[in-house]
């Protein structure tokens, strides 16, 4: 807040405070004169009394000086304002208008979207801008931020504002606006932020920054009671599913406003791009509550399948009524399981775990496992396999390791279940072996019976994502591990290209149980205890596969394999994020079909074998095609709005104060806006208050002066000479 004066020259009137001082000195008003014989009794108290008298005089003098100073101050018309020490009230300003253009701004209230309301209020501000002002418009869709060549151009930019997925967060856009203002040459700088004050707009915003020199005004374009229902997100059980496996979808939807019942439908896109409804489920919302609906869509044809989940019926915000998804349905991934002879016995636990015979008969197995004797590994053709599982492998030759390393680095997976066959650790720890595994075997670690078992501490690794769903219910302690290899990851600089293996899950004794090693485009997972020994084997290292109901082992075998097979293609991304899809390097050209139906050519990164699509602002399903319809490349991805982009829940006042700062100015309607702008630009005149203060001071002066000097009713002149003549009479 700054104090300015509309007529600062009149401040010179404050010099008049000298007048009472001069008058006090040269025209001291004489006290009432009285004769009084008993003066002797007064003299005793005279000194203290004189001091008080002098104090009274000084008080009176100060009051009069203060009254004059206040009058001069009031006449100078002081005003309180936010900025503009140097400029006049109607001087030009540099103004930056920051708009939140997230899709949630399309929420329709009173037949007008929030964005339209923001634009209308911005027009009001435009009308109030002094001549020669400079205006810049910044929005969260991220364009170039610069002062417009003219106010008309800026107004046109506001007219063209459209909701778009955010590339800038609102706080970032505000920071951009502030930076722009700092470059302005005009001394008066104003920043206007049009926001719906929603949780989505200010999500993750840092605490309010200290006040800047510019004047900042937030314009709240939200409505008091918005109504909306929307899909917050869809959770796919997997981006890739085997053909014949049903697609599991978990849809969470929320409601803002009164209770409501609607239906949520799942639609799948056909070859012509049209959507066909496959499932509908009713949903009933209670005020402010989330609702979750689960779908299982069976009978998906192999290939890239795209679909959408939508809420039936229209509401105030359409952007969050639909979400898109893409899954890849394919034949079961072929996995080569190599185990010591006899392979069908030693590798059966793993083979059954990843491709149970019952499911294979039904053609519903996730993997197609092929058992092979590890001795014949080198002679087996690896083409067509997505991953190799080494069950209790003996030391391999350097050639074998090199071949495996090269094969994995090409984007395949390798899972190694270490066991007693690796007994010759020195041979096993060849350089080639260490390069593939990302570490070396140290010794066999023995633990007392039942004292050691797998104990994943944190389930944040992608490989353990499936375990997160069952949480702490995994009974690892029922599957003790009595022996395991101590595996030491390589030093960080030893394998600079690929890095060392990292621990995914430890044993209870703290040593690594599951490790992951990125090797080129592929992944190697090492499990330091075997899954090959029968329950009857007295030297069995563990009971992972042979314990009672060994479902944790089955999950571990499947998840480790899924993890190494994962192509890293993220087929469901947030709007604005680049989509990266792995393709065959031999692919020459590719086109992306956008949700709008346009075919856009995209470049292929031959070195990495990927296609990057960056124009992902529009939510919807994108289809990537290359080559012919038959035998050509067919991939796709879905783009959805970030949950924050459609989160319309308004921040409470306390939270708003936290992000906007304690002294923020917030205008809620046009009247607020006009008043606030006037107050800030012209300032609040203090004339009335100061005149009132001056009147109080003058009244005090009057009371004191009367008390000191005013003649009394009973004081009727000098007392002397009151003697009346008497007559003698007698």
């Amino acid at each position: 807040m700054n104090l300015t004066f509309l007529t600062p020259m009149l401040l010179g009137g404050a010099a008049l405070v000298a007048v009472p001082l001069i008058l006090h000195l040269i025209m001291r008003r004489k006290p009432v004169k009285r004769e009084f014989p008993a003066l002797r009794f007064l003299r005793q108290k005279a000194i203290a009394n004189r001091r008080r008298l002098r104090l009274n005089h000084i008080l009176l003098l100060l009051l009069r000086m203060a009254a004059l100073a206040l009058l001069a101050f009031a006449l100078a018309r002081p005003t309180l304002r936010g900025a503009g020490w140097l400029a006049e009230g109607e001087g030009p300003v540099a103004a930056v208008f920051v708009f939140d253009t997230a899709p949630r701004m399309l929420l329709r209230e009173a037949n007008r979207t929030r964005l339209e309301r923001a634009a209308a209020m911005a027009k009001v501000l435009f009308a109030k801008l002094p001549p020669n002002s400079k205006v810049a418009v910044v929005d969260t869709s991220g364009g170039t931020a610069a002062f417009a060549a003219s106010n008309a151009a800026a107004a046109a930019r506001i007219d063209r504002l459209a909701a778009a997925p955010q590339t800038l967060s609102l706080p970032s856009a505000i920071a951009e606006g502030r930076r722009l203002l700092e470059t302005a040459e005009l001394p008066r700088r104003e920043l206007y932020v049009f926001t719906d004050c929603s949780r989505g707009a200010w999500q993750g915003a840092p605490a309010a920054e200290a006040a800047t020199e510019s004047s900042e005004l937030y314009v709240d374009v939200s409505a008091a009671a918005p109504q909306n229902c929307g899909i917050d997100g869809i959770d796919l059980a997997a981006d890739t599913i085997a053909s014949g496996t049903p697609l599991s979808l978990q849809v969470s939807a929320s409601r803002e406003g009164p209770d409501l019942s609607r239906a949520i439908a799942v639609e799948l896109a056909g070859a012509d791009g049209r959507y066909a409804r496959r499932a509908v489920k009713p949903v009933a919302w209670k005020q402010g509550r989330q609702a979750a609906v689960e779908f299982e869509i069976a009978g998906l044809e192999p290939g890239v399948r795209q679909g959408r989940v939508l809420i039936d019926g229209a509401d105030d915000l359409e952007a969050d009524d639909v979400r898109y998804f893409t899954v890849e349905v394919g034949a079961p991934a072929r996995v080569l399981v190599a185990a010591p002879a006899p392979a069908d016995r030693n590798g059966r636990f793993v083979a059954q775990a990843i491709a149970p015979a019952a499911l294979r008969k039904l053609n519903k197995a996730r993997f197609d496992a092929t058992l092979v004797d590890v001795e014949r590994l080198d002679t087996t053709a690896w083409e067509g396999f997505a991953a190799i599982v080494l069950v209790d492998p003996p030391p391999l030759s350097d050639r074998s390791w090199d071949s495996l390393g090269q094969w994995v680095a090409g984007g395949r997976g390798l899972v190694v279940w270490l066991g007693p066959q690796a007994v010759e650790a020195a041979r096993f720890n060849s350089d080639s072996g260490q390069r593939v595994l990302g570490g070396r075997l140290v010794r066999v670690w023995r633990s007392p019976e039942g004292g050691n078992f797998l104990a994943p501490m944190q389930l944040d690794h992608p490989m353990l994502a499936a375990f997160r769903r069952v949480g702490d219910a995994v009974p690892w302690q029922d599957f003790p591990v009595e022996r395991h290899w101590e595996f030491q990851p390589s030093a960080a600089d030893a394998a600079a290209a690929d890095g060392p293996a990292v621990v995914v899950a430890p044993y209870r004794n703290g040593l690594p149980a599951v490790l992951e090693h990125r090797l080129g485009a592929g992944t190697v997972v090492t499990i330091t205890t075997p899954a090959s020994q029968a329950a009857s084997d007295p030297d069995a290292w563990n009971t992972l596969a042979t314990g009672f109901e060994p479902w944790p082992f089955v999950m571990l075998a499947n998840e480790s394999l899924l993890h190494v097979i994962d192509t890293a293609d993220d087929m469901n991304i947030a709007a604005g994020r680049p989509a990266v899809l792995h393709v065959d390097r031999r692919t020459a050209t590719a086109f992306v079909r956008t949700p709008g139906g346009d075919d856009v050519p995209v470049a292929i990164d031959q070195q990495r074998g990927t296609i990057s699509v960056t124009a992902t602002q529009t939510p919807g399903n994108y289809l990537l095609r290359s080559g012919g319809e038959i035998g050509g490349l067919s991939k796709g991805f879905s783009v959805n709005l970030d949950a924050a982009a459609t989160d319309i829940v308004r921040l409470d006042d306390e939270a708003l104060k936290g992000v906007l700062g304690a002294g923020h100015r917030l205008a809620r309607n046009e009247a607020d806006l006009v008043r606030d702008v006037n107050l800030d630009r012209v300032g609040a005149e203090l004339f009335g208050w100061i005149i009132l203060l001056a009147a109080v001071v003058m009244a005090g002066d009057w009371v004191l002066a009367n008390r000191f000097y005013a003649p009394r009713d009973d004081a009727v002149g000098p007392a002397a000479g009151g003697h009346l003549p008497l007559e003698a009479g007698a």
């Binding site: 009432v32 014989p37 008993a38 009794f41 007698a730």
Partner: protein, 299 residues
């Protein structure tokens, strides 16, 4: 319609009577009418008394006729002894001219009182004399009990004008020197001077055997200090000036005056002097009562 008794004794009423003799009669009659079980009854001027002979009395004064009747010795010169010689000693200094209400000055009040007392004494056939002083004695009328003495005293009093500075001790010493017989000395003064010499001079009067009634006459304003605001006070005799905030000074002043009077009261009590603190708003009966009580106590 007969006026209420109190009316005769109020200074503001008395002030309206210009003739001093009438004023004196007015006061005394008002006073006497107000008396009920009054000490005045014991002072009838018509009544003669006998007094038992005491050793030291002159034997020739014994009333032998009474002795013949009663076989007891009584002395008969009682009439002369019951008379009391009174002197009205009035301070006429400049300070006595002060009045706040513009009604009775301290001197007017003192003169009215003195006139009433004179009138009362003469009618009791007590000789009454008059002395006035400021810094020294001025008028002096010897004590007489003739009726014409009233006129003479009142004539002198009517001509008194307040002036000059005051020197009470010196004047009282002169008074003491002039009085040869034991007398009742009635001093009217505001005593606004250094108290110690005044006390000494009063003691000197007492040592000479005189009875003293000290009428300490102050103006109403001198007692209550009704001033407000900033006032420049001038002392009428010495012309001293003092600017003061009257409101702030009031409490201290009133307390100082009270302690001043209290000191005089204590002194007079010890010295056997009747002390009558008066101010110009008080009725006259109190002063007259002081006189009568004092007179009775002499016998």
């Amino acid at each position: 319609m007969v006026r209420a008794v109190e009316e005769y004794l109020k200074p503001e009423v008395v002030r309206q009577i210009a003739r001093l003799d009438l004023r004196a009669q007015f006061i005394v009659r008002g006073f006497l009418q107000g008396l009920h079980a009054s000490p005045y009854q014991g002072f009838s001027v018509e009544f003669s008394e006998h007094r038992k002979y005491a050793p030291g009395d002159d034997p020739k004064d014994i009333d032998w006729l009474v002795y013949a009747k009663t076989d007891k010795h009584y002395v008969k010169k009682f009439e002369a002894e019951t008379n009391i010689t009174g002197y009205l000693v009035i301070d006429t200094s400049g300070s006595m001219a002060y009045t706040y209400r513009q009604q009775l000055t301290k001197l007017d009040y003192s003169i009215s009182l003195a006139a009433a007392l004179c009138w009362l004494m003469i009618h009791q056939q007590d000789p009454c004399g008059l002395m006035t002083f400021d810094d020294r004695l001025h008028a002096s009328l010897p004590a007489r009990s003739r009726r014409s003495q009233i006129a003479q005293v009142l004539s002198v009093l009517a001509k008194v004008r307040p002036s000059g500075k005051t020197d009470i001790p010196r004047s009282l010493v002169q008074v003491a020197a002039m009085l040869r017989h034991r007398s009742l000395v009635m001093v009217f003064s505001d005593l606004l001077a250094d108290p110690e010499p005044i006390r000494e001079s009063l003691l000197r009067l007492r040592h000479r055997g005189h009875d003293v009634i000290l009428f300490h006459v102050l103006d109403e304003a001198e007692v209550r200090f009704p001033f407000e605001g900033v006032v420049e006070f001038t002392e009428p005799e010495a012309q001293d000036r003092l600017v003061i905030d009257a409101d702030a000074a009031r409490r201290g002043y009133v307390s100082a005056v009270e302690s001043f009077r209290e000191e005089y009261r204590k002194f007079c009590f010890h010295a056997g002097i009747d002390y009558a603190p008066l101010d110009t708003s008080m009725q006259f009966d109190r002063a007259l009562m002081e006189y009568l009580v004092s007179r009775r106590n002499r016998f």
